[in-house]
């Protein structure tokens, strides 16, 4: 999952756009973008990346397509 961190970073910083068909993932992306925009520090970015990674690990079975698509972001 760590190889995806650079992609997640782009997403969280709104430098890239990705729309999932999974409700929870879309809400998470939106929330992390807002959270990071309010506190643009390396610590906050790390927290956001950890949160994204935890979500994708837990819901791996329903976000497999998203993970593949995010690799090409």
């Amino acid at each position: 999952m760590e190889e995806l961190n650079s992609k997640f970073e782009k997403l969280i910083k709104k430098q890239a756009k990705y729309e999932s068909s999974v409700l929870g993932l879309n809400l998470l992306i939106s929330r992390l973008q807002k959270k990071y925009a309010a506190n643009q520090t390396p610590e906050e970015l790390k927290n956001c990346l950890q949160e994204m990674e935890s979500f994708l690990k837990k819901y791996n079975s329903i976000v497999k397509k998203d993970i593949e698509a995010l690799k090409n972001l």
Partner: protein, 324 residues
Amino acid sequence: MFVNLEQAIQLIEEGKILHIAADESLLAQLPKGKWIAGTTPYFITEQGGITSKDKLFVDEISCAIDYKTVVYNKDNIFDITKDAYPNGITFLIMPFASDVAVFYAKEAPYSDDLLMNPTIGWISGFDLSTDSRAKVYDGISGASYWDKAVALHICLPDDEIASLGIINIFNIDENDTKIEFMEDSLSVTKCLVNGKEVIFSDYILENNIDTKLPLIADYNSVLVNVSIKSVSKENSTVDFYAPVFAGKEYHFARPISDYAESFHERLQEFHDFKPIFSCNCVLNYLYGKLDNKATPPFAGPVTFGEIAYILLNQTLVYAEIVNK
């Protein structure tokens, strides 16, 4: 399933784990058991929309390998994420206009853990032609509450996982007027319309905006509605059924001519779908004249607010259980 009182009692006595929606007069007669419930006399059944105080809508949660019910108030509602099973789904019912529902509506989008725990549910209501009060019921204790939330935490087998979704028949045009708010609130006076500060109630009245249409914000392609409860010219206020949030851009929804047809079009992709729960908004039911109109494969209570992680308005929400 839409059942009579005797059938509901039989399911409870058989030890089934149940989510129930019905009028208070029926819920008050149910025996203790493995269930939670909320009040509403409005339903969209497999046969169509109906107002009924004679039947109950019951979802049997047969996928559960364990369960617990927990009652929450405003001070501990976000313990819901701590109480949830590591692999599960939580059904949450909160009474309309209760402090706990208002608090949840405003704070859920900021909860760090909520998205890690599938939480689905609704805001209980009442017959709009009466001055009744919305309630929720904890079947384990048999107690009812007008000021507390009740949750049914379900533990799922290791090879299954819960997935939540929504169906919003409304849409926006990004080029339409942009509306922003200065604070998170259920009631506003001022807002920014295309960057210019205005009194929102004046803006709505002067522009003859149809307040049956929700405001919509885009959450990474998820369109989240905020329905307008009332507009007061005298007080210069606009009240909402869910909060608006500072930092989000809102647009009024595009008009819909036929709600039932719009649902029908959106439901084409769900032919083989088997939701374990769904509910739809009372505003869709009333504004869309959904009496006698079905929304297959979705059937369930008609509600005063919908929960799919966060509080939603004028939206159909559903849960399914999928294999890992």
